[in-house]
């Protein structure tokens, strides 16, 4: 296979400790090497930034609600459709790109591994069909467990071995990567039109609380020793005053030690924390709770978070928090789609316009950035937009600009219609910290990879790691205008995926050979769970058990992470 040597670039790599040092990066046989032969193709990266390929820890890019979003928003395709190219299929969609566009746009930004944030198990085959049709990037998907009837019953009865066996079985059956929890208990309550908005609200009929669900799944995750921790979207998303629920949820993980062989140091990952950091008791008194939340994360080092930054665009919200989406449509009266999934979860979709002239939207924008700026440990704080909920992932370069340039933030704050009110309700105006390029690398590469338990493979440039490398035309010491940051990170000069060059001069030149990551956790045989599964399928599911499993040809290029959970 090809050999490359990237010479003279300023390398930012937390894994090997390089903080902009001018250093060479060698690629051989798809991996990072310490040296290459004279036959290696030379790429001159003088004056440019070199990093590992970025790792997206949470985005909604493949599956039934994503596709419902695409199909019910033809208007999302207006103006930005790219025709078929020399190496690319036609590509369209602004907030909900088609699968081809998803792969191409992530790759152009130097992202090489992406995790689909929520997979309803009954629809897993659909998620994998879309993953298959997303070029270049390696992907994995998180099945949702927080509203699952099996999980409720086993946890209620304190049957930890059974819940572990079920989790292992479901990960294998759906070819899933991690335990995702969305609005625990609340999305099952939504099956009756209700919700759970505090951690102690019992789920109708099943009589288990969100706190019990989270605690149980957290314990199970550590018992299984999975590569990632539980990945949670806690209750009460989007409501003023919800920091109380967020802190109560995080508290469940306090003091718990991680157990795994993947280098993971956290026991809980909270996603799109921006949506969960609200103070005040109404939209009128709405204000930032980022300080309280950031303080908590700074103190409790066994947790990681991703930001969920609002980008102030017209976008599409979509989440497995069914009741929240119904609430949202009652606020903005835009078209609402909903799918409740038997025994497993629910989901909703509503378009949303984050208008900078609306006070609340501008405050949300500020909160996302505050969380990033108040974080003491960029290895535990990751850049996301909960794509497409707070904004499209194509805005990541803009978020990097805002985090790295105080001026760009101040300009935004000054430009808001309700500038004074926004500044009064947030902390952003007084935060002048500017994140460094190294810290950005931590927040977009090393940190997410480590949180996912993949830091031996992705997110770094150490010898033996996958040769996922990105070169950006920017020099940290020569930035005159923050717009340069956004421009450079929007279209990389060069991107390698598994040692194959896929982007050159900002354009896609190859579709690569993407893989699907999933976790095979081996547990002892469990006859009880086998019987329970058979019984529930026979009586309550609308599909037969034998037709439920995602067969191997939907995962044509699998990358299986094996865990011995015996």
């Amino acid at each position: 296979m090809s050999e490359y040597i990237i010479k003279n670039g300023k390398v930012y790599d937390p894994k090997t400790g390089l903080k902009g040092d001018v250093s060479d990066v060698c690629i051989k046989d798809g991996k990072i090497a310490d040296k290459v032969s004279s036959k290696a193709k030379v790429i001159d990266a003088k004056g440019k930034t070199v990093m590992a390929g970025a790792v997206e820890i949470h985005a909604h890019v493949a599956g039934p609600k994503v596709n419902e979003g695409r199909n019910y928003r033809p208007e999302d395709k207006l103006f930005t459709y790219k025709p078929t190219g020399k190496h690319t299929r036609m590509a369209g969609g602004f907030s909900i790109p088609t699968t081809f566009k998803t792969g191409y746009e992530y790759a152009r930004m130097g992202y090489t591994t992406v995790m689909e944030a929520a997979m309803p198990p009954l629809y897993a085959r659909h998620v994998h069909e879309e993953i298959k049709d997303t070029p270049i990037i390696d992907e994995g998907a998180f099945p949702v467990f927080g509203n699952n009837w099996f999980v409720f019953e086993y946890l209620k009865n304190n049957e930890m071995d059974n819940v572990c066996a079920y989790i292992s079985w479901l990960l294998k059956t759906t070819k899933g990567y991690a335990i995702k929890i969305v609005n625990p208990g609340g999305s099952e309550a939504w099956g009756w039109g209700e919700n759970c908005t505090t951690v102690n609200d019992p789920v109708p009929y099943f009589d288990i609380t969100p706190a019990e669900i989270v605690k149980g799944l957290l314990t199970a995750n550590e018992q299984l020793g999975l590569p990632h921790s539980i990945h949670i979207h806690s209750n009460n998303l989007g409501n003023p005053g919800n920091i109380e629920t967020t802190l109560a949820t995080l508290k469940i993980a306090e003091g718990v030690r991680p157990n795994n062989k993947f280098g993971r140091e956290q026991v809980l990952h909270h996603t799109h924390v921006q949506f969960h950091s609200y103070k005040g008791d109404s939209w009128g008194t709405f204000e930032s709770g980022a300080k309280e939340i950031a303080d908590y994360f700074n103190k409790n080092k066994n947790m990681t978070m991703d930001l969920g930054c609002v980008t102030l665009d017209e976008t599409t919200t979509m989440t497995a928090d069914g009741p929240f989406e119904h609430h949202l449509t009652s606020l903005n009266h835009l078209k609402w789609a909903n799918v409740d999934v038997e025994l497993e979860t629910s989901s909703g979709i509503v378009p949303y316009v984050y208008d900078p002239n609306i006070k609340v939207c501008a405050i949300q924008w500020a909160i996302g950035l505050e969380l990033g700026l108040l974080a003491k440990d960029p290895m535990r704080t990751f850049i996301t937009t909960d794509h497409p909920n707070a904004g499209p992932f194509t805005r990541y370069p803009r978020i990097m600009k805002w985090l790295m340039s105080d001026k760009s933030r101040q300009d935004m704050l000054k430009g808001f219609k309700h500038s004074d009110k926004v500044i009064a309700a947030t902390n952003l105006a007084s935060l002048d910290r500017e994140l460094t390029m190294f810290e950005i690398a931590q927040m977009t590469r090393a940190g997410p990879a480590k949180s996912l338990g993949l830091y031996d493979i992705f997110g770094g440039l150490a010898k033996g790691m996958d040769a996922d490398v990105a070169i950006f035309d920017i020099d940290e010491d020569k930035i005159k205008d923050p717009e340069q940051i956004e421009k450079a990170f929007t279209a990389a000069d060069c991107v390698f995926k598994s040692g194959t060059m896929v982007v050159e001069n900002g354009e896609i030149i190859s579709s690569g050979n993407k893989r699907t990551l999933w976790v095979d956790a081996k547990v002892p045989e469990n006859k009880q769970v086998e019987r329970d599964v058979q019984m529930k399928f026979l009586k309550f599911y609308s599909m037969t058990l034998n037709n439920y499993e995602v067969s191997n040809h939907y995962v044509p290029n699998p990358y299986v992470i094996e865990v011995d959970s015996n």
């Binding site: 493949a62 039934p64 994503v66 596709n67 419902e68 695409r70 199909n71 019910y72 928003r73 033809p74 999302d76 395709k77 459709y81 790219k82 025709p83 078929t84 299929r89 036609m90 369209g92 969609g93 909900i96 088609t98 699968t99 081809f100 009954l122 629809y123 085959r125 659909h126 069909e129 879309e130 049709d133 009837w149 099956g191 009756w192 039109g193 009929y205 119904h326 449509t329 078209k335 609402w336 789609a337 909903n338 799918v339 409740d340 999934v341 038997e342 025994l343 979709i349 509503v350 009586k539 309550f540 599911y541 609308s542 599909m543 037969t544 034998n546 037709n547 067969s551 939907y554």
Partner: protein
């Protein structure tokens, strides 16, 4: 000796039953019996095995109306040439095949700059348009089975079109919270005829044909406790409307199933718009969902694959190199009426039988290819007929149920000797199209 295959998926309608049991001969070549299928599904399986009626090789239409057998290679050549030489070809159908084949077809369409459309064009296309206007609160069929105590069939007749729907999902099953089965469900049927489905309903509202829009809006008013003016709405006495609305509001989980009665009659997408808004309104009082009774077993799949690859569910126009969508303009019925296309490729559907005759006549005047295991009115007026293996019987593949749940169909028996599958044929066409485009 015989073999038994269980958990077989039935490739007929959007109910996509996956519990069929098929008994084949020992060699896996002939189907001997089918269990659990409805009459239509059973006929489909059994008839496929009746090789005396199978066309097993492609054939080309002659001047005198007869057909001459040609090879698969010749059929591939004709198809590739036709698509490449056309300025604005249409690739229509896709509903009776698997997602793998649909995907290959899309690649061909993209290279050739074609229109890609599926049978939603004559079925639930107007539903898709309505969803694009107002969204859709919905659920999976298992939710109906486990929770629903109020069922509405509006403008659909599952007793005839989705025969096992009521026993598998909507009326009779005993689910987790519905242990008493149909005894604890109230059923309302709205139909201009007292259909066989209406005979098991608690209430049949015999709406005046074509006036469903008024009745739906009246329901919305009644549900919200508003007064309806007029004594008879769309043929239904006002009191009956209030009563029915109260039945719906008093439930704890309701579902509206709807079909061609409202998608194809005057009002079209506005009818569906009103039905979806009624469902949304009901969610202010109780829990309600709405589900479209999709016709073909994989029209939903075609919409899904088109969606994730191009961003639109049907009536897709790729002729300018990027995808455009405007059903009243880019839909197959309209482009045929306006004589805008110069080649017709049909796979997995029968427009010859199911399009208005004006459109069928237009197809018969064009260079055309029909890919279908059966002899149909389409195959008999197209220039080339290519038979292929039956999906879900002789070749597997992914399909999507009416509630968008994907289920993988199985191969149950071998196809007749030497027959290609849709995917194999399309891959051959794709290869040839790429060669031709290169030159």
């Amino acid at each position: 000796m015989s073999k038994t295959v269980t958990d077989v998926i039935c490739p007929f309608c959007g109910t996509l039953c996956d519990d069929l049991v098929v008994i084949t001969d020992d060699e896996g070549k002939k189907i001997l019996n089918v269990e659990n299928a409805c009459a239509i599904g059973a006929e489909k399986f059994l008839h496929s095995s009746d090789l005396s009626h199978r066309v097993t090789r492609p054939r080309k239409l002659q001047e005198d109306g007869s057909f001459k057998e040609i090879t698969y290679d010749e059929a591939i050549e004709y198809t590739a040439q036709m698509l490449v030489n056309a300025k604005k070809p249409s690739m229509y159908g896709w509903s009776s095949t698997n997602c793998e084949a649909q995907s290959v077809g899309h690649e061909i369409a993209e290279i050739c700059g074609a229109l890609v459309d599926n049978t939603a064009a004559v079925c639930h296309g107007t539903t898709l348009v309505a969803v694009q206007n107002v969204g859709i609160p919905s659920c999976t069929l298992g939710e109906v089975k486990n929770r629903a105590d109020r069922i509405v069939f509006w403008g659909c007749n599952p007793a005839h079109a989705h025969p096992r729907h009521m026993s598998r999902y909507s009326i009779f099953p005993r689910g987790y919270f519905t242990g008493k089965g149909h005894k604890q469900r109230k059923i309302i049927v709205v139909d201009p005829r007292p259909t066989d489905t209406a005979s098991i309903a608690d209430v049949h509202l015999q709406v005046e044909q074509g006036y469903d829009y008024e009745l739906l809006q009246a329901f919305r008013a009644a549900v919200r406790g508003q007064e309806i003016t007029g004594d008879i709405i769309a043929g239904v006495p006002k009191e009956k409307v209030y009563e029915a609305a109260e039945i719906l509001r008093s439930g704890r989980f309701g579902v509206i199933f709807f079909g061609m009665g409202v998608t194809q009659s005057l009002g079209k997408d506005h009818n569906i718009d009103a039905a979806i808004m009624l469902t949304k309104d009901l969610n202010d009082y109780t829990k309600f969902s709405i589900i479209a009774m999709r016709g073909h077993y994989n029209v939903t799949g075609s919409g899904q694959v088109l969606g994730w690859q191009f961003g639109f569910p049907y009536a897709v126009d790729l002729t300018r190199g990027f995808a455009r969508y405007n059903p009243g303009e880019t839909g197959t019925i309209e482009v045929l009426k306006r004589k805008e296309i110069d080649a017709m490729f049909v796979l997995g559907s029968d427009p010859g039988a199911h399009f208005p005759m004006q459109c069928v006549k237009e197809i018969s005047n064009l260079p055309s290819v029909a890919i279908d295991p059966h002899i149909t009115p389409t195959t008999e007026i197209c220039k080339v007929h290519v038979p292929v293996a039956f999906v879900a019987i002789e070749v597997g593949g992914n399909c999507y149920r009416m509630d968008n749940v994907p289920i993988e169909a199985k191969k149950v028996v071998e196809p007749p000797e030497g027959m290609m599958t849709d995917t194999e044929f399309l891959k051959g066409v794709l290869k040839r199209v790429k060669e031709l485009k290169e030159n």
